[in-house]
């Protein structure tokens, strides 16, 4: 339990630093911004306490917010993703799968993993940019930001997953 928590803390810090130091400075085509920290929530194992998932995701979002001057936006959207992750995960794993199944491409298969990751990333990006822009008047910009960021994040998740597998 403690080992798991420590490992998660390590992933937490790594993703946080990566986001704050690197990804926050990327604005591809002026729209797409990788929000890789959502990977932390995606990979929460099956059967992990839901309240803990929520707290972890909230804290990660809050820390990201603090560093990127968007108080509340990332925290709110990460909490939403943290709530949805266990429910969505149940859709992709069979009942007979291990109760503490790890969420990764190797354990679930690429298609299932990527679908789950894509859904959660999309939800996160849409929620995040809705809260950050807080208006749908400029809906085209909003669409570009949300979809572009989701795509970019997904590509990075894919890369990260490849590295982890090898």
């Amino acid at each position: 339990m403690a080992v798991e928590t420590l490992r998660r803390l390590a992933v937490f810090l790594a993703l946080m630093l990566a986001q704050v130091l690197v990804f926050n400075h990327i604005r591809l085509f002026g729209y797409a911004m990788p929000l890789l920290y959502v990977y932390f929530v995606i990979t929460t194992r099956r059967g992990y306490p839901r309240w803990a998932t929520l707290l972890w995701s909230f804290c990660l979002g809050l820390v990201i917010d603090i560093f990127s001057n968007t108080p509340g936006a990332a925290a709110a959207s990460m909490t939403l993703v943290g709530l949805l992750q266990p429910y969505l995960l149940e859709l992709f794993v069979s009942r007979e799968a291990a109760a503490n199944l790890k969420v990764s491409a190797s354990s679930m298969g690429w298609i299932k993993f990527l679908t789950l990751a894509a859904m959660l990333t999309l939800v996160h990006c849409m929620a995040f940019f809705s809260l950050e822009m807080f208006t749908f008047v400029d809906w085209l910009t909003w669409t570009f930001c949300a979809l572009g960021s989701a795509l970019l994040t997904l590509i990075l998740v894919l890369g990260l997953e490849c590295v982890r597998k090898s």
Partner: protein, 288 residues
């Protein structure tokens, strides 16, 4: 209680979710001036609508007061128009003197606005109760009118209420009226039945007038000043004895929906009335 606890235990992560989202949203609005301003401006939009609805409700309830003021004003202007029409008809040489007299004449009256608290139109002897009495300066035998025309005469006065004998009282109401612009007069009585129709009796046979002429108070009755609107001549009949005309008058006052009225308090009328009574007394006491 146990069910509630069980429910909370099962869905505690939803509760946590809500709490965390609320914290996030509070942070969002607290520390982002843009989101905060959008929130507060939309909140103000809602508040504006609420206040607007509130104001319209308030306006609706103040309509009663506005209505009363308008009734009073309307009555005043109606009289003024009547007077001016008469003066214009007379075409006197010095009109400014007439105007001054006119204003003086009007300023003699004190109008006491009142509200009808009980009313009936379906009996032969209808009575109206209004919410003003001695305390407000109402006395017996004062005229009562509304914005549309004549209503009746005060009869019994208590401290805060007054019973008015309206035109629609077949046995007690006799109001002296004349035909506008013609000068011939008669007295107004109501026979029961239709509350919108009364009869002007004892109009002399030689009088010249036509259907559609306006009937107004004559100013002879010691109760109403001259020129308070009564109604319009609808049909002309001969009286039973054939010595006079009997005019069917469509009353301008709608007694069935009477609400705001004015009691006409005129000191000079009271004085005239007193004088007349003294004369009557002295005549009756005079030995035959």
């Amino acid at each position: 209680m146990r069910n509630l606890l069980a429910f909370l235990a099962k869905y505690h992560h939803w509760l946590l979710f809500v709490v965390l989202e609320v914290v996030s949203v509070v942070l969002l609005f607290q520390y982002n001036s843009y989101q905060g301003s959008v929130w507060f401006s939309s909140a103000n939009y809602v508040a504006g609508h609420v206040y607007e609805a509130d104001a319209s409700v308030r306006q609706f309830f103040s309509l009663t007061r506005v209505n009363k003021e308008l009734a009073e004003r309307n009555f005043y202007l109606e009289r003024q128009v009547t007077q001016l029409r008469r003066l214009y008809g007379e075409l006197t040489a010095d009109t400014t003197v007439q105007q001054r007299q006119e204003l003086e004449f009007l300023s003699r009256f004190e109008l006491i606005p009142a509200k009808v608290v009980s009313n009936s139109v379906d009996r032969p002897e209808n009575l109206i109760t209004i919410d003003k009495g001695k305390a407000d300066g109402v006395e017996r035998d004062m005229g009562v009118a509304c914005g549309n025309g004549i209503v009746g005469v005060t009869y019994m006065v208590s401290d805060h209420y007054t019973v008015v004998i309206p035109v629609l009282n077949a046995s007690s109401s006799r109001i002296s009226c004349s035909i506008r612009g013609r000068g011939y007069f008669g007295y107004l009585r109501w026979d029961g039945g239709d509350p919108a129709v009364a009869y002007l009796e004892d109009v002399p046979r030689h009088a010249r007038f036509k259907r559609g002429d306006w009937v107004e108070t004559s100013g002879f009755s010691a109760i109403f000043p001259q020129g308070v609107l009564v109604g319009k001549i609808e049909t002309i009949y001969n009286s039973a004895d054939g010595l006079s005309y009997r005019l069917k008058v469509r009353l301008s006052t709608d007694f069935a929906c009477l609400r705001d009225v004015c009691v006409i308090s005129d000191k000079s009328i009271a004085e005239r009335s007193r004088l007349l009574n003294q004369v009557r007394d002295s005549l009756t006491m005079k030995p035959e």
